[in-house]
């Protein structure tokens, strides 16, 4: 074999390996905020759209629960992931996910609710009480509220009751002094005839969930996917896809967009629960 033949063979084999790698489906992990079936119904059309546009299959993936999702993101199992702001802050460090898109206008906020007859006027009045939260990793309803309580030096006993509705009912029936939630689920609960609950405190708005890619994904594909997501609102089909996943206009994102979340200093969560 001549030197030239060797070079050609090497180039051929490299091309084959490269082609094989490019045909591998991209895994797109979605944070499990709803049942997997419902998430699949909502997100699969977007996956199909991305597959068409980048010429490579994009597969919907999720996890049975938040801790498993966190483990998988931490293990770098997803090429692309849609995660809450706290997750992004964590996983942008290890394994180094890079933000590519987020909702343009949305700001994520948490609220604290108490009974209508409760005399509390500030979060400081909750000192020593039992507070209800939906789940440890719920960013707005749990993490933002707990961060503020920590900043104020308020000590309390957290009680996790599975869902936002359960938080409001626990407060309404006087089982707990107060609870963490978000505006949207609180408004929905009021429509479902929730009574005897009022909002005590609203958090500032924070950068919402992140679309991020694995650090091993080539820059070219990262940009391509980020642009495709940011351009969704420019077409009829894209707007329908966004509506299906209940998101509004997306824009390209930078890692620094989540500095407001980083500034919260959320180390206390690491000591109490995953991640």
């Amino acid at each position: 074999m001549t030197f030239l033949q060797g070079i050609l063979l090497t180039m051929f084999l490299t091309a084959c390996v490269s082609a094989q790698a490019d045909s591998r489906p991209l895994s797109f992990g979605i944070v499990p905020q709803q049942s997997s079936s419902r998430l699949a119904e909502q997100w699969t059309p977007l996956m199909s759209y991305l597959s068409e546009r980048i010429g490579r299959p994009v597969r919907f993936m999720t996890a049975p629960d938040i801790p498993t999702f966190e483990q998988r993101v931490l293990a770098g199992q997803y090429d692309i992931a849609y995660m809450n702001p706290y997750h992004y802050v964590e996983f942008s460090q290890v394994p180094g996910y890079r933000a590519i898109a987020r909702e343009q206008e949305k700001r994520i906020r948490g609220i604290v609710v108490v009974s209508e007859t409760d005399p509390s006027t500030t979060l400081a009045d909750l000192q020593g009480e039992t507070l209800a939260f939906p789940a440890p990793a719920a960013f707005a309803a749990t993490i933002l509220v707990r961060a503020e309580l920590k900043r104020l030096g308020v000590s309390y006993t957290p009680k996790y009751v599975s869902s936002h509705d359960s938080v409001y009912l626990n407060v309404s029936r006087g089982f707990v002094k107060a609870g963490g939630g978000i505006e949207r689920t609180y408004a929905a609960a009021l429509e479902q005839e929730l009574e005897n609950v009022r909002v005590l405190w609203r958090s500032p708005g924070y950068t919402p969930h992140a679309f991020a890619v694995h650090p091993d994904l080539p820059q070219r594909e990262m940009d391509q996917i980020g642009d495709l997501l940011a351009d969704l609102s420019k077409s009829e089909r894209g707007r329908a896809l966004l509506e299906r996943i209940t998101l509004k206009t997306l824009v390209r994102a930078n890692d620094s967009d989540w500095n407001d979340v980083r500034d919260l200093g959320l180390e206390f969560i690491k000591t109490e629960q995953t991640p």
């Binding site: 079936s37 119904e41 919907f60 498993t68």
Partner: protein, 234 residues
């Protein structure tokens, strides 16, 4: 006729059983697929394995298997021998197999995510059907035998009476002594025998009357002859 009837019944049993098994198998597979969908989508393999373990324990279910969109095995459980068989849907097969295989896909928003394959062990059902067929054939055979025996008995009984009637009538026709059939049967043959006996009795009576008249006439004739002879002597 009986063979045609039996064939039709067996064919109907086969078809209705096959239809029912197909319907049941597809329903089970669909329900299992719906139930397993969340675990497949979230790749919760531990829950999926627990699920197929439970499915495989369901009475009548031989095995359950879940594969993803690339055909990779996610979980399986059940009869080890059946699990090694190549999966092939059993729908529209001519004969009901002992191991009926069915599957249902997990599709979300039109995209295929995997499928669940199940095997139903139909050996007990097939044995029941075969037992039913054997029993039906046995009953039919006994019925045919009974019908034959009854026909032979009834024929012998009827022919014996008719033969007796015929012989008696032959003797009557030959002018032998008065004789009645005296059949005690209450059926049509008995009725016929009774009517023949009445006709015979009437004929016998008529014949007796006729003979008596003849005798009377002969007596009168003798008296007349004697009177005439006495007149001539005067």
């Amino acid at each position: 006729m009986l063979v045609v009837l039996l064939y039709s019944v067996f064919h109907f049993i086969d078809k209705s059983t096959r239809d029912e098994v197909e319907r049941r198998a597809q329903s089970i597979a669909r329900v299992f697929a719906e139930t397993a969908a969340d675990d497949v989508l979230s790749l919760d393999l531990a829950s999926l394995q627990s699920f197929v373990d439970e499915v495989a324990k369901t009475p009548g279910t031989s095995f359950a298997r879940v594969v993803d969109y690339e055909g990779r095995l996610l979980a399986e459980a059940g009869n080890p021998e059946h699990l090694t068989r190549h999966f092939r849907r059993s729908l529209d097969e001519e004969e009901l197999p002992s191991l009926f295989m069915a599957n249902a896909t997990i599709v979300k928003a039109g995209l295929y995510y995997g499928e669940i394959e199940i095997g139903l062990d139909l050996r007990a059902q097939k044995q029941s059907i075969q037992s039913l067929q054997r029993n039906s054939l046995g009953i039919a055979a006994v019925e045919v035998l009974m019908a034959a025996l009854f026909s032979i008995g009834a024929g012998y009984y009827l022919v014996r009476r008719l033969t007796r009637m015929s012989r008696i009538l032959e003797r009557i026709n030959a002018g032998e002594a008065y004789e009645t059939i005296n059949d005690r049967g209450s059926d049509e043959v008995g009725e016929l025998a009774l009517q023949i006996d009445l006709v015979n009795q009437r004929n016998y009576w008529e014949k007796s009357r006729y003979n008596e008249r003849i005798r009377n006439l002969e007596e009168l004739n003798r008296i007349l002859q004697r009177k005439l002879a006495e007149k001539r002597d005067f």
